[in-house]
């Protein structure tokens, strides 16, 4: 299954090769051109009917993770975070280190030896380390290099009423949507772009947009979801199972209202459920894309993901399906020159 392969692959920002290779093998027979640019972005073009405007659909390939910074005197690995990782979700988790995916664990001080006030305090990154079972610094040095990327070790699981648990749903879910779009939409001209290093500052998308020079861009994402019952609805960024989330504003983009209203109109005409992404927190590749060259209009359409940026993020298959349906409807509208 594609989403399983995509999420179980390691692709911490700056180290997207494993993910990139899966994507290329999936799409290479379905595109008219495919190039990997100097940063590692995949830029593909599908030729359909001629349109007056250039459409680009993007998804970032990278995920948050860790990087080895030191090996201590007894062979434990010190690390730093790559992208936005809440230090509190690291304790007591397994990880995979480096290209050979050496298994390790992030342990914690036994509760028995703690004072009560200790467990009310979050552990800092510099108090944590990865234990790969090496007995000495020398043994660890044979297996691990400083600078090795570390990803969460977490499998793909389907559970509950149509939900999926995996690491890196942000943004392998976007990659999966775009791969399927490239495979299944054949009569519409568009650029499909898979970007690198979104999580460490929207690095890949600017140069990719510079090359493509789009008029309209659709950024596909997995986004924040927290839908607790006793919360005021304006505090809920997105709900699970309520369809694709359409962005209003975030830290990097004030989204074009005309395009947004057209998309909502498309959703309503096609009876596709949708919701607004009701938080201004976070940001994504749109932030760079909409200001590249002479500028372009953008929208971000996201699949809500609970526990995002953790080893166990959760999304709903129905949200995926509705997001995909909306995308196809938007592309059809684009082909009719009505977007």
């Amino acid at each position: 299954m594609l989403l399983k392969r995509l999420t179980e692959a390691s692709g911490v920002s700056g180290n997207e090769k494993e993910v990139r290779d899966i994507i290329i093998s999936e799409i290479k027979n379905h595109v008219d051109s495919l190039k990997i640019d100097r940063l590692g972005n995949i830029i593909t073009y599908k030729k359909g009917r001629d349109t007056s405007k250039t459409l680009m659909v993007t998804a970032h390939m990278d995920e948050v993770g860790l990087m080895v910074t030191d090996i201590d005197s007894i062979g434990l690995l010190k690390f730093t975070t790559v992208g936005g990782v809440d230090k509190r979700i690291l304790v007591s988790k397994p990880v995979a280190v480096g290209r050979d995916k050496i298994k390790g664990v992030i342990g914690a001080k036994p509760i028995h030896l703690q004072k009560r006030e200790e467990w009310t305090r979050a552990l800092n990154i510099n108090e944590l380390y990865i234990d790969i079972g090496a007995k000495s610094k020398e043994e660890a040095e044979r297996l691990v290099n400083i600078g090795d990327y570390v990803s969460f070790y977490s499998d793909y699981v389907e559970f509950g009423d149509g939900l999926v648990k995996a690491k890196a749903l942000d943004n392998r879910v976007g990659c999966n949507l775009l791969i399927n779009l490239i495979k299944e939409v054949n009569d519409i001209s568009f650029y499909g772009v898979f970007t690198v290093m979104e999580e460490i500052g929207l690095v890949g998308s600017g140069p990719a947009a510079y090359e493509v020079n789009p008029d309209i861009s659709i950024v596909l994402e997995g986004t924040l979801c927290y839908d607790m019952p006793k919360l005021d609805s304006h505090l809920i960024p997105t709900y699970i199972n309520k369809g694709p989330a359409i962005s209003l504003i975030d830290r990097t983009t004030v989204f074009n209202a005309t395009l947004r209203n057209k998309i909502i109109d498309i959703a309503e005409r096609n009876n596709i459920p949708y919701q607004y992404r009701k938080t201004s927190m976070g940001g994504n590749d749109s932030g760079k894309i909409h200001i590249t060259k002479g500028g372009s209009i953008t929208t971000t359409i996201s699949v809500p993901c609970r526990y995002i940026h953790s080893p166990a993020s959760v999304m709903s298959q129905s949200d995926y399906n509705n997001t995909y349906a909306l995308l196809k409807a938007i592309l059809a509208e684009f082909e009719r020159e009505e977007l």
């Binding site: 007591s92 298994k103 914690a108 028995h112 467990w119 979050a122 019952p229 526990y307 959760v314």
Partner: protein, 351 residues
Amino acid sequence: MDTKTLLELLCNGKGVSGYEYTIKDTIVSAFDKYSDEISVDNLGNVLALKKGSTKEDNIKIMLAGHMDEIGLMVKDIEDNGFIRFTNIGGIDPRTILGQEVIVHGKKDLFGVVGSKPPHLQDPSEHDKAIKMEDMTIDIGYSKEEVEKLVNIGDTITIRRELLNLQGDRVASKALDDRAGIAVLFECIKELGKIRHEADVYFVSTVQEEVSMAGALTGAYKINPDIGIAVDVGFGTTPELSKSDTIELGKGPGITLGGNIHPRLRQKLTEVAREYNIPFQMEISPGPTGTDARAMQITREGIPSLCLSIPLRYMHTSVEVIDMVDIKHTAKLLAFFIASISNDSLEGLLCY
């Protein structure tokens, strides 16, 4: 069965204190082949007896490794189907956030432990640990469905499979104290090769983490001459002081202190030296908080010993041990048992 295979089966099994019956069959089928009698008592302890080589009225030695593990319990179900929970046994709440769990409802249900995401927290909260009461378990069903599948009081375990690290080291949940049962298993196999006079009871005890109930009732029933707990000890890591810990790969910790019979402990170290088995001293002046404590005060008092397998990150779901220590601990136990004769015991117990 290979001892490591048994350890993996036990660690991947799920048996929170009071609910150990789920791994009972695995233990019975492993020990059955090597024991003369095997039984399960009222509380769920598994007692495997290997008889001594001499006449009747053999002295009795009881070995105890506890089969229960720490875990969680369902407390409430939210309107959106999320589960609120509490802990069974000592758990650092910081080790629970973001874990995958199995909720043992009408069937085993996969779930994820979540909380308010950091993006929605006030920045001042970022350095505070999330409290267990602010966490929820998401099993992906509506409240209506959850209520059909889950009852208040159902137990929950962390979803974790034993992970092979470098060399002989492994990481898992519940190595405390399924590693102790692995030592018992390795020991019963060793004793098949060595002559011993004592009747040896290999007891997989229940409820050590909450009350030591299994060791208390098991020791009462067996009424052994010597009780030996095989548990885990704090493994050395950078944040712990060396004097509080024992090192992985350097043999069992032999506990010293009021819980431990001094002459027997001395004999244990003599045996270790005689057979070149590495060991470390573990200092515990008061009650040890292991089955050795329960055995010591059973009936009119039972001379007790405690051996500790060095283990890092105790009571997390990524506890780490070195399999070499399982071998060393089991060897030491077997040679110690073989060194005790019906005639020599009296002298050893004299103060």
